[in-house]
């Protein structure tokens, strides 16, 4: 005699402590075992792409802040580069340097949230708060310069909204010196924690071919062992002038491409960002940061595509201009959106608790997924 058993459908989200926003996952579970995962998107859809068609080029910038709200400067940068390509303008050296430093500071801040919340989802709440304490340093540095702590609207087409604060260089250097030992602390507290390794190693293994086929990018791709970083492979701004490594997952604690690898790649990337900042901070040339900002933005007919390495991956902006003051079409290739599609593949055959670990290691921001 065989017992008739049924699987249970569990709706995880849109209100759930660890779906990182308003993501809804439809889990089919058998006891604790997950048979399938279906992400349902769209709870945070704000019509960014359609909306930007109704606005002038420079008015779109604040809206890009709200895509990946943990890495606003990266979003600004991508859009600004695309628009500058359309216009065919070159920004001053000083602007380039400040943009790179800001983008790297932002990358560190974003990774802090990613790592912290990945840990917090697994139950380690203390590293999360330690990282938020350190993130505060970055936020106050940026706040001093542009007045905002989250949605900066800092990088404008052809320049910046404000010149850097007189204290900027000193404070950034202080932060770099402060944060280096803190990464070691994070490693000791979380990265090499036995329980954390047990929870993340060999969990949610993303094989190289799957990662490529799904178009994954950023730490999610690099965690699988592929050395692909737009800052090196398709350099934008002035990234080709700096010397930095691209950390990849090596399967130190388990299999290449598991959750721990994705986590660890982010930790090491923070170090590389510090290296870039250190190289750039002393060489900011003098000059005006607003000189190249056009008074009236009316690009010629044509298209432009720019992509930048955002903390979450390959962020692309495709802009079509019909010669008017408004863009004809703005299309965003959002890294979180693409990376999220792998979730179903990764979660098969794992337990409910692993879903959280995997989701945290992919590190999505719903503002960007739904746009």
């Amino acid at each position: 005699m065989s017992l008739k058993t049924e699987t249970m459908v569990l709706n995880m989200g849109p209100q759930h402590p660890s779906t990182h926003g308003v993501l809804r996952l439809e889990l089919e579970i058998e006891g604790e075992l997950v048979l399938s995962v279906k992400p349902h998107l769209g709870y945070l859809h704000r019509c960014f792409e359609k909306h930007s068609e109704a606005m002038q080029y420079n008015q779109v910038v604040p809206y890009t802040d709200r895509l990946d709200y943990l890495a606003s400067i990266g979003n600004n940068l991508g859009y600004a580069i695309a628009a500058e390509k359309l216009l065919g303008i070159q920004v001053p050296e000083r602007v380039e340097y400040i943009r790179v430093i800001m983008a790297e500071l932002q990358r560190i801040a974003s990774h802090m949230v990613a790592l912290g919340s990945n840990g917090a989802d697994i139950g380690a709440l203390t590293p999360f708060l330690y990282l938020f304490r350190d993130r505060e340093h970055i936020l106050s540095i940026i706040e001093e310069t542009c007045g905002a702590r989250m949605l900066y609207n800092y990088i404008w087409i052809g320049g910046l909204s404000h010149d850097i604060h007189p204290d900027f260089v000193r404070k950034t250097k202080e932060f770099v010196n402060y944060f280096k030992p803190t990464i070691v602390e994070l490693d000791n507290l979380l990265s090499y924690n036995k329980i954390f390794i047990e929870r993340t190693a060999n969990i949610g293994v993303l094989p190289v071919d799957t990662a490529i086929n799904f178009g994954a990018s950023g730490p999610t791709l690099r965690g699988s062992g592929i050395k692909f970083d737009l800052r090196r492979d398709d350099p934008y701004s002035i990234y080709d002038r700096f010397d930095f490594d691209i950390p990849v997952g090596k399967g130190l604690q388990g299999t290449v491409g598991d959750c721990w690898d994705r986590y660890y790649v982010r930790v090491r990337e923070m170090e590389q960002s510090l290296r870039i900042i250190e190289q750039a901070i002393d060489h900011i040339p003098e000059g005006d940061v607003k000189a190249a900002i056009p008074k009236r933005i009316k690009p010629p007919k044509g298209t432009a595509y720019a992509r930048v390495e955002n903390p979450r991956g390959d962020l692309g902006y495709f802009i079509i201009s019909d010669g008017n003051t408004n863009p004809f079409r703005v299309k965003v290739r959002a890294p979180s959106f693409v990376n999220l599609e792998i979730l179903g593949e990764l979660c098969k055959g794992h337990l409910v608790a692993d879903i959280i670990a995997i989701l945290g290691s992919i590190d999505i921001v719903l503002g960007e997924v739904d746009r």
């Binding site: 759930h16 139950g123 203390t126 329980i195």
Partner: protein, 355 residues
């Protein structure tokens, strides 16, 4: 304790009342201070300030929370099984509350001097599982159900290593009574069971390593029994929202919270009775030195409470340091490591105590 209070007051009614109310007051006090401490300790560990607005150093934060809890509407979903849903928090609370009856706070302060104290405590705290299962099932919520199932599996499994270690201690001391067990480990810390007990012989030194193993096993498994991190998977907030009490609010929710802190102190008390001399002072009694023997019970109560809080602080320290295990890993820890070692420990302690 009845006799002690009766000698003190000379009134039967008052002494009966005091004996009855004493454990309840205790649980409430433990929860009150426990919640406050948990917040402060976590804040200190995480480089935060913690509650500091309600009263001096935020001391009244828990009181304020309690008042808020009482005022809350008792919102009950239509989908729940009302009977079970309402009984569950009471049952869970009763389980942890009843354990206090047999815990000796000092040689005089003990609710009931049951001869089978430790057996009673282990038995009565199993009641909690029934309450948790009821809460999870009756809530008609999938998260609650998952939490309850996890919890039942966890608590039932971890009772085995606890019971095995308790068994070895019972074998060594030859008594099931908690107060006798404490009494045997006479004042001065080298007489504690963790240091091989009061009898000075070769056995004492042979026992020390195995006592240490026993202590570690029982501490880990009691941690799991009270659902504290790294074993808090039944209420894993990032996975199951709040586990088996997801659907509860107001005072019913507070009952679960109370019982959690009540349990924390209860298991700390059991650990300290088994291994750390219970209410015995580590450094002798002031009452003996100055010749005021009436002082001794109060000193003992102080030491007992201090030991209990020490272990609660260790629990908090662990909670805010470690991540959470997964459900299968949790079971593996219990069945693959703790139980075999506890068995081995039981046999070895048995052999040594026969020497």
């Amino acid at each position: 304790m009845y006799q002690f209070i009766y000698d003190l007051t000379g009134n039967m009614i008052i002494s009966t009342l005091v004996v009855a109310v004493f454990p309840l007051v205790n649980v409430l006090l433990v929860a009150l201070i426990g919640v406050y401490l948990e917040r402060k300790v976590s804040a200190w560990m995480q480089d935060r300030v913690g509650p500091n607005r309600t009263g001096p150093y935020g001391l009244f934060q828990t009181v304020a929370d309690f008042v808020k809890m009482m005022q809350k509407e008792d919102a009950v979903s239509n989908e729940v099984d009302k009977k079970l849903y309402n009984i569950a928090p009471v049952l869970v609370f009763a389980g942890s509350f009843a354990a206090y009856a047999a815990i000796p706070f000092s040689s005089k302060l003990i609710g009931s001097e049951a001869e089978v104290g430790i057996f009673y405590v282990i038995a009565i705290s199993s009641l909690v599982v029934a309450g948790i299962l009821m809460a999870g099932w009756s809530s008609n919520n999938k998260y609650s159900l998952l939490g309850a199932m996890r919890s039942a599996a966890q608590i039932v499994s971890y009772e085995i290593p606890t019971a095995l270690v308790v068994l070895s201690m019972v074998m060594l001391t030859g008594t099931l009574s908690l107060s006798k067990m404490s009494e045997m480990q006479t004042a001065y810390f080298w007489n504690w069971n963790i240091f091989g007990g009061a009898a000075f012989a070769l056995n004492k030194f042979l026992l020390i390593p195995f006592m240490l193993v026993g202590f570690i096993i029982v501490f880990i498994s009691t941690l799991a029994e009270v659902n504290r991190t790294p074993f808090d998977i039944p209420e894993a907030e990032s996975e199951l929202v709040a586990g088996y009490f997801t659907e509860y609010c107001g005072m019913k929710w507070a009952m679960f919270m109370l019982s959690e802190y009540g349990n924390m102190f209860a298991v700390s008390a059991i650990v300290s009775i088994l291994f750390f001399g219970g209410y015995q002072s580590p450094i002798g009694y002031l009452g003996n030195t100055i010749g005021a023997t009436w002082l001794i019970p109060y000193e003992q109560a102080f030491w007992f409470v201090a030991k209990g809080w020490f272990f609660i602080l260790v629990q908090m320290w662990l909670r805010w340091t470690l991540p959470r295990l997964r459900v299968d890993q949790l079971m593996a820890v219990c069945w693959k490591y703790l139980i075999p070692y506890a068995f081995l420990n039981l046999i070895i302690i048995g052999i040594i105590s026969l020497l």
